[in-house]
């Protein structure tokens, strides 16, 4: 019999739609990702548009937008029209059957928290941790939700600004904790912000971190935040949380947007359907947040309740799945109980071939063979292929029925929203690239050559004519000796002042990056840039960490975790040092400002451009040598454009800027003091007035000859570069100290110490040589390869040296 020739999603043109028959990607991870995003058999998908450069495509499904590559879209097979008609008839029948299965027993409704007896093999809170020293009850809650569902906004709304940021143990995924407040009072509830995830399958580091937290740390309850405008896909995670048996409280966010669309959600039906309390709210406006925190406050006294896992499983899964789960339980039940995992959840995970759980249970080879046999028999009963797809399909079938019952769509004709109109312009085939260039140009102009520069100069003048004379005066009154005055004024204050002057530029840069991120434009940039990025083995998603790299390499390397595969992540991290971080900006500002005066803005821009060019060339080189292979998949959600919330933006900017200030007050201050000592003492540890007798001169003199061919073979430049390995800003500290004492100030001294060409070569060296220690430590952690880390450290120095040599030599020939 001849196989039916099927159309694929890749064959559809913008505006056309089809219903998924099955997923057939070669990459299993890709399939899992698509399933978690709701691309399951029977789902209707409409192609919205293609990216300006022809790839990827934007599609709409389950009331949200997703972008994926044409290549991957071609692996999504569609039903033919006859099958579609048959399916819709069958669905009408199925709907009533599914509605019957929609439960439930005695759900806990809002304001009626119930304490429930926990049965063996189910989720239990970690014993002995719910009483604080004072004897008060203390609860630890986890906040879980999909990316872009307003998690940070709700976290800030619930905790105020009491959050502190750290890392999850062992991995560099950001961890936030804060105390919940209700009615202005801080409650004994710690809220832990889990990473933004689409499912609890162990596909990405974020998912593993979130799952392990719930399983190992066993929070008292999970506050599951859902995007009400994208309910279907968000409920997928909810269902997985319920399968774990953990007490869940649902925060139904963005209800204001649902109301704006004239749609409505029956929260009672949702609560009954899931068996958990549901709180409609808008984290942005704060509406409904008080009711949620009041509930949390009362639940602190009455206890947290969870729906029965058995109820959840009965509602979602059919009889053959249940039989398969029982069979899995017979094989691995003992090991599951030994490890203390929720019984049904663990059985389901084993049926899904969950590698991490298999590893932890250490099943015998005989048990593994039996398990494999059970899974194969289970899969043969369905046409969906792997068990994971069958289970995902069951979850979505339940969700669809619940969604239909709870969500009422307005009968008014759907008109294009403001977000659609903005998107039509920003991702337009002809306008998108010029607009992107214009936005980036605007950011750079604002930060580096207009407002940012004026504010920097203001702070510089304030230090020079305000702070330093004041400190000198004070020390003279206190009869401090000259050397002590020099230590405080030239060493400590001079060093800090040189760096703090660039604070406004750094604030502006972070402000702009946060605005891009929160507005939803970042994901569009990834969409636009995917095709060109793929040319050197990266996905459009890499563009986001790259852009963050202009702020700081450390969070950018952490953000690279969002990459879908290890190779892509490594490539992104290896290329991050080429994106000139904001710490280098003070160096550019100082040297270019002194040597190129009015053209300094252009010089700085050229350095940023040069970094990108070297990044691209290195990317091509790495792809051909170190990290060959096919490009990573690109599956990304398109959140609607939203007006960024000032509070969130300011909190994020403050988080980052406070690091900079902290650095200025610690490591940069310490470095300034040390440099002052090395500059003012000779090798026999006597104070010296002649810099040529200083320890620093001796140290710098060892390296300076190597730098002579690059046009800056002075001991000052050599030492400045060395100190830059601790933190890039200290290059400025060093230069300010070495040249600050000369008549006419640093700028005049720099003009006599460097030729313009030598200065430019010096800046190229600063741009490209090994990143600071903090960045290298993060890179090492994220790359998970000491060899690759050592390689990148050496590669950066070598490349910086040759690039500076090239600039100086070629420049000498041309000029």
């Amino acid at each position: 019999m001849q196989a039916i020739q099927r159309e694929t999603l890749g064959d559809l043109l913008p505006g056309q739609s089809g219903v998924v028959y099955r997923l057939d990607p070669e990459d299993r991870r890709m399939k899992r990702r698509l399933v978690a995003m709701g691309v399951t058999p029977g789902t209707r998908i409409t192609v919205i548009k293609t990216a300006p450069l022809g790839d990827p495509v934007e599609v709409a499904l389950r009331s949200y937008w997703l972008s994926l590559r044409q290549e991957d879209a071609r692996h999504i097979l569609l039903l033919n029209p006859r099958e579609e008609a048959r399916l819709s008839r069958a669905r009408l029948k199925d709907d009533s059957a599914q509605s019957e299965r929609l439960r439930f027993t005695t759900p806990t409704l809002r304001g009626e928290p119930q304490t429930r007896v926990q049965t063996s093999g189910e989720y239990r809170r970690k014993a002995g941790k719910d009483k604080s020293n004072a004897g008060d009850v203390h609860a630890r809650l986890a906040l879980a939700g999909n990316p872009n569902c307003g998690k940070t906004t709700l976290f800030n709304a619930l905790t105020g600004s009491s959050a502190h940021v750290g890392n999850w143990p062992g991995v560099t995924v950001e961890k936030k904790e804060g105390r919940v407040r209700a009615g202005g009072v801080q409650l004994n509830i710690t809220l832990v912000d889990l990473p933004g995830i689409y499912s609890l399958s162990p596909h990405s580091m974020e998912e593993i971190v979130a799952r392990n937290y719930i399983l190992d740390e066993r929070p008292d309850a999970v506050v599951n935040i859902l995007d009400a405008t994208n309910l279907e896909r968000n409920l997928y995670l909810t269902l997985q949380l319920l399968e774990l048996g953990v007490p869940v409280v649902i925060a139904l966010n963005m209800m204001d947007e649902v109301e704006q669309r004239c749609d409505s959600i029956d929260c009672k039906a949702l609560s009954l359907g899931l068996g958990v309390p549901v709180f409609p709210l808008s984290a942005r406006s704060g509406e409904g947040v008080a009711a949620l925190s009041q509930y949390l406050s009362s639940a602190l006294d009455t206890g947290w309740s969870a729906p029965s896992t058995e109820d959840t499983f009965l509602s979602v899964y059919d009889a053959p799945t249940y039989r398969a789960l029982d069979a899995v339980g017979a094989v691995a039940g003992e090991q599951i109980a030994r490890e203390g995992f929720p019984q049904r959840w663990a059985e389901l995970k084993l049926l899904e071939r969950d590698e991490l759980l298999l590893e932890r249970l250490e099943l015998s080879s005989e048990a593994q063979a039996q398990l494999s046999d059970i899974i194969q028999r289970f899969e043969s009963g369905y046409r969906l292929g792997e068990s994971e797809s069958v289970i995902a399909d069951a979850r979505y079938t339940f969700i669809e029925a619940l969604y239909k019952r709870a969500y009422t769509q307005s009968s008014a004709p759907i008109s294009a929203t403001l977000s659609d109109k903005i998107d039509a312009v920003l991702t337009n085939k002809y306008l998108s690239l010029p607009l992107f260039a214009l936005i980036m140009g605007g950011i750079f102009t604002l930060t580096f050559s207009t407002l940012g520069r004026w504010l920097s100069e203001g702070i510089s003048l304030y230090f020079e004519y305000g702070v330093l004379p004041l400190a000198r005066n004070l020390l003279q009154r206190l009869a401090a000796p000259m050397w002590f005055q020099s230590l405080i004024c030239d060493g400590a204050l001079g060093g800090i002042g040189g760096v703090l002057a660039f604070l406004p530029q750094i604030v502006l840069l972070y402000l702009c990056l946060s605005l891009l991120e929160d507005s939803g434009y970042m994901s569009r940039i990834a969409f636009i840039m995917d095709k060109p990025m793929r040319r050197f083995g990266l996905s459009g998603k890499s563009f986001i960490p790259m852009l963050m790299g202009f702020g700081c390499t450390v969070p950018a390397a952490v953000a690279a975790r969002a990459m879908d595969n290890q190779q892509d992540k490594r490539m992104t991290i290896l290329l991050l040092p080429f994106m000139s971080c904001s710490a280098k900006l003070p160096v550019y500002g100082l040297v270019a400002g002194a040597l190129f005066a009015k053209g300094s803005g252009l010089v700085i821009l050229s350095l940023y451009g040069l970094g990108i060019i070297f990044g691209i060339l290195s990317g091509l080189l790495f792809r051909k040598t170190l990290l060959g292979g096919s490009a990573a998949p690109f599956v990304m959600e398109f959140a609607p454009y939203r007006l960024p919330l000032a509070r969130n933006i300011l909190l994020r900017v403050w988080e980052r800027v406070s690091h900079f200030i902290e650095k200025a007050g610690t490591v940069i201050l310490a470095m300034s003091v040390l440099l002052w000592f090395l500059q003012n003492f000779d090798t026999s540890l006597h104070i010296t007035q002649d810099a040529r007798e200083s320890i620093l001169y001796a140290l710098g003199g060892l390296i300076a000859p190597l730098l002579a061919p690059l046009g800056f073979g002075t001991w000052q430049a050599a030492v400045a570069l060395l100190t830059g390995l601790i933190a890039k800003e200290t290059v400025v500290t060093s230069l300010s100290m070495f040249y600050g004492g000369s008549p006419g100030g640093v700028s005049t001294a720099l003009r006599s110490a460097f030729t313009p060409l030598g200065a430019y070569a010096f800046l190229v060296m600063v741009l490209l040589y090994t990143p600071c220690i903090a960045a290298m430590a993060t890179i090492r952690k994220e790359l998970e390869s000491p060899g690759l880390t050592a390689f990148i450290a050496v590669y950066q120095v070598a490349l910086a040296y040759f690039a500076a040599l090239l600039v100086y030599t070629l420049g000498g020939l041309i000029l």
Partner: protein, 42 residues
Amino acid sequence: MKLVYCVLGALILLWALVLLVLRVFKKGCGGNCADCPMKNKN
């Protein structure tokens, strides 16, 4: 008075040295709280 300033100067220098040594050997914290495992401890 001179001795007081000498002690003060030496203390400042010692603080600077300790801080820098810690930074080099403590996996590069550098005031970067997002990368600081110490801040997770309650």
